[in-house]
């Protein structure tokens, strides 16, 4: 079935959810000025990865990457799918813990962490059980509710902007040596892998993903530049979540609510939840395809429980950061190998098909 629109929107929403939380903080602390450079470089890497990935996916027809790797021969599944699985699991744990922690910092100071994470996991698991179709439709419905809010507040966040903070425009490439720059790839890396898992269920036009990616670019820039332009680099770098802080300074006297940040934040959290669900679903698929002994339905129960325990086992914020840092090696491995391997295996597969056709 062709679900181009749903999948494109999903890609868009997932990335919106990833952009606004961690990304601005990482970019702002990676460089002192000329923030557009790391943003653009990261974005180019993202675009390149998508291009290769999409090209590879178009070779393999109505197959997903799991079966592609499983067919590729011995060793390959282990070399490619194992890191992906571990990466996915880590991502879920980190994102979940991060969101919960952030929520207690920003507005739910009384609610215990486990309760927040439980709700997250319950909803994610519910959607994951119901399957990818449900996930896509939920995504579109949620998006229809949240996107206007996000656009409105992104527009409103220009209220306190002082454009002169945009200078100095560039100051070299010192950020390449900064680990925060590599952390910032979190926003670019995790979100697009799911595109390779959809194929047997749904097909989609690959070109639309590029359009969505281009639409994302302004949001990447806004997320970094709005705090910088509101506070200035020196101040912005003192915040954990610079974008949220910038939003907090908006004053909309015509709105009947006071702390509008919450609404923006909640919409983003919902998108993050979509991301979480998508990753959870992908993980379940990988595991159940590679180890057919385990029934997917058991897995959908076991995995969230496991993740919940793992999240509870992380004692504090510092450890989350540490986990995040470890994850970044895996992230680069996955981002580089998955698109490339998809491309080469796909090409090989197509050549084989061509040969057969020639016979």
């Amino acid at each position: 079935m062709d679900r181009t629109w749903q999948i494109t929107l999903m890609y868009f929403f997932i990335h919106l959810g990833l952009i606004f939380f961690l990304y601005p903080g990482d970019v702002i602390s990676s460089t002192n000025d000329g923030h557009w450079l790391p943003v653009i470089i990261g974005f180019m890497v993202h675009l390149a990865a998508i291009t290769v990935y999409m090209k590879g996916l178009s070779f393999i027809g109505r197959r997903d990457i799991i079966s592609l790797y499983l067919e590729a021969g011995k060793g390959w599944p282990l070399l490619l799918l194992l890191p992906v699985t571990v990466y996915f699991l880590l991502i879920i744990i980190i994102t979940l813990r991060y969101c919960a922690e952030m929520m207690t910092i920003v507005f739910l100071s009384n609610t215990p962490l486990w309760a927040i994470m439980l709700l997250f996991l319950l909803i994610a698991a519910f959607i994951a059980i119901k399957g990818i179709g449900t996930l896509l439709r939920t995504g579109v419905l949620t998006g229809m509710l949240c996107l206007p809010v996000i656009l409105l507040f992104t527009a409103a966040s220009f209220q306190n902007v002082d454009w002169r903070y945009i200078f100095p425009l560039a100051d070299g490439f010192a950020f390449f040596t900064d680990s925060d720059f590599y952390q910032s790839f979190f926003a670019f890396a995790g979100g697009f892998l799911f595109l390779g898992f959809l194929q047997p269920y749904f097909t989609y036009r690959k070109k639309n993903i590029f359009i969505a990616a281009l639409v994302l670019l302004p949001f990447f820039l806004f997320s970094v530049y709005i705090p910088v332009l509101t506070f200035g680099q020196a101040t912005a770098s003192t915040f954990h979540f610079p974008f949220i802080a910038a939003l907090d300074s908006i004053n909309l006297s015509w709105l009947m609510f006071d702390r509008i940040t919450i609404f923006f934040f909640l919409c983003l959290i919902s998108f993050t939840m979509l991301f979480l669900t998508m990753v959870l679903w992908s993980t379940i698929r990988v595991i159940s395809r590679c180890i057919p002994v385990i029934k997917p339905s058991y897995l959908t129960f076991a995995l969230p429980v496991l993740i919940f325990i793992a999240c509870m086992a992380i004692p504090n914020w510092e450890d989350v950061k540490l986990l995040f840092e470890w994850n970044s090696y895996l992230r680069f491995y996955v981002v580089i190998t998955i698109p490339l391997s998809t491309y080469f295996f796909g090409k090989r597969l197509q050549r084989k098909v061509d040969c057969h056709a020639a016979d």
Binding site: L119, I123, M256, F257, I262, M273
Partner: protein, 445 residues
Amino acid sequence: MGFISRIKEQYAVSDDFFILNDYLLETPVILMGFNSLMDWTLTKQNLQTYINTAADTGLGLEEFRTVLGQVETASGMDKASAGLLQGKLIIYFEQENSFIVMDTVARTLDRSITPPVNENVFQGTLSSFTEDINSNIGILRKQIQSSHVNVSSYTIGSEETRQLTLVYYEGHADVNLIEKIKMQIEQNKHQQIDNLQQLSQRMMGFRNWTLVPNLNQTELPEEAANFLRNGRALLFMDRLPVAVVLPSLLWDIFVLGSDRHMPLPLMMFLRALRVIGVMLTLILPGTYVALVSVNPEVLRIELALSIAQTREGIPYPAIVEIVLMLLILELIIEASIRLPKNIGPTITMVGGIILGEAVVQAKLVSNLLIIILAATTIANSTIIGLQQSLSLRIAKYIIVILAAIYGVFGIMEGLVLVFAYLSSLHPFGIPYTSIMRCKKEVNHG
């Protein structure tokens, strides 16, 4: 055992059953039927007219019998029983052990076609479906005059039989959908169906444990015709004055076919209102709980102070307060359905006094809550379909509870949960949240 004795055994206990010996062209016959289902006097007159005509034209018994109806050999009881229960006259020929099922003058047991009772029509066709399945299909055929409207009838049930009719618009409806429905009906033909719950569970194989009605229904022929044109299938059941729409979709909550009698902007305005209504129903009570007890910082200070002032002296937390009042509201709604029309207004009055005045004065709830509740109830009533509005009313409680635990976050996630639930439904492989227009768009859903 003979035919007659078997019939007697089965029906003689009923006082409205008659069994008479008579002569038909000098042949002894036994006439049987139900007084309550036929007008016996008129039927007798008719029969006499037939006999006289036959005698005048010199028709033989054999030919005369074929004029009266199909001749059946009295080996099985089924046809005779069915005929009797449908209000037909059975003419039994003892000599040949055969019978005829003759059409009679039926008593008028059906009401005439009247304006709808449960649904309101705003500038549209006023007639509504009745209990008689044939009149229903007739009304529908008047509404859509097309040779492509196909009607297939099934007799379902084994002990108690009932007529079930599937209507669809060929060329508009998805072939797969129709095939699936037909297959379901054929498979479960012997099931006994008394109500829509059984229809959805036993006949259509839906899960019974769903919050959202699996079958949409309408009593307006105009809406039914619109559904047909949009590629849906309709089911009619005898003695059920509604058309059951398959599959039921989320979109039906917002869209009424008769909206299209209005100019486009007005139509869009109306539909937008319904969407807002749904959102408000879901969000408003939850927002009250969240803002009052978990996230008061979201309120503007002026509002926060006035709410705090109205809640001064209220002995329980916001969640108890709102659940209590919501419950009373539900009771009022239910009570006003139960009561006869002429005492119904009492409930409105008493409810109005309770809600508007006394509860607030007694410091049991804050008066802001009353406003919220009133707004919620009004918003809830904007959507189309009573069953759908009921499921919305239930969904509201989930959000209220989540809001009490997680505040504004709970509302958001509650909404996501509701969305996810709606998205997870796909009757006959058609997603509940999809928009169904005509055949070629079904696949895109």
